[in-house]
């Protein structure tokens, strides 16, 4: 009766983190619910999901760089789709829909104190291989919602890649055989 659970808010956050991880990461093995350390676990999961992160000392912000495999594949397919349909790459409906999706997902997510940029590459070059950038400010602490958002974006690109691939390569290719040569009679 008197035993209020110490730091239940922290345990609830820890449970939320575990729920996000189990739902999105098939290799995740779990953890003890921990009100004091969930914060570190969430940060580690975020860092692991990113391709690279840079801590900026003078602003206490962190720049996370992402290039999910599905993203790279998606933009490669968009390039092919644009070429085949003779559409400007940046005006390709798949490219614009993806940008809109990311913007809406970020707007709807409960993540504050961040800045982001979706760099839409026409060509993946080594120097600029990161497609999606997020900078978290010094007061940022919505790590669990951020993880959920990133998994959502990753899944979107995976799903769209499959759709686009089916559209581009899924059709049965009809190989046109050369037409039979018409018999022509030589004039005697």
């Amino acid at each position: 009766m008197f035993d209020n659970i110490r730091n239940l808010e922290g345990i609830i956050e820890s449970l939320r983190l575990e729920e996000v991880m189990f739902r999105n990461n098939s290799n995740y093995t779990g953890n003890f619910l921990n009100a004091d350390e969930y914060y570190i676990q969430a940060w580690e999961a975020l860092a692991e999901l990113s391709d690279e992160y840079v801590e900026i000392d003078w602003t206490y912000s962190v720049l996370y760089k992402f290039s999910f495999p599905g993203m790279i594949k998606f933009y490669d397919l968009c390039k092919e789709h644009s070429r085949l349909n003779k559409i400007n790459f940046k005006k390709n409906p798949y490219v614009t829909a993806a940008e809109d999706y990311v913007r809406t997902a970020i707007d709807n997510a409960y993540v504050r104190n961040i800045a982001w940029n979706l760099w839409i590459p026409k060509k993946i070059v080594k120097k600029k291989k990161y497609i999606f950038l997020i900078e978290t400010g010094c007061y940022f602490d919505d790590y669990i919602d951020m993880l959920d958002l990133l998994y959502e974006i990753r899944d979107y690109y995976d799903a769209q890649s499959k759709i686009l691939e089916k559209e581009l390569h899924g059709k049965v290719k009809v190989i046109k055989l050369p037409a039979d040569k018409k018999e022509t009679r030589k004039a005697a």
């Binding site: 009766m1 008197f2 035993d3 209020n4 659970i5 239940l8 808010e9 345990i11 609830i12 449970l15 939320r16 575990e18 729920e19 996000v20 991880m21 189990f22 739902r23 093995t29 779990g30 953890n31 003890f32 619910l33 959920d148």
Partner: protein, 112 residues
Amino acid sequence: MRYELDLDLLRRKLSRARLQRENPKYLIKQPEGELAESLSYLIENVLKPLFAGEQIHSSDLDFNAFDGGDITDLYDFYMEHYYDGTSDWQRLGTVYNLCKNAVPLTNTVSFI
């Protein structure tokens, strides 16, 4: 830190105590209606073990049995039905926990 409990003082203070409300919150309210299956699952597998002081490993939970919204509902459920943040209740809780965790001492008692 060593604590000494003056049972006589405690008895006198308790006898003078007045409940602040007619329906004190610590009488745990029974939820109205039937709970959702997903929330019941969380109460059984998260809240009750926590009350018992047990640690919970997430791999022991069935994450198909509930979703993120149920976790928020669990917190609301706890706050509504179990938590009492009033200072009197907190102080009484401190005394209760001190008594519960106190190491018993033996003493000579004279019987008539």
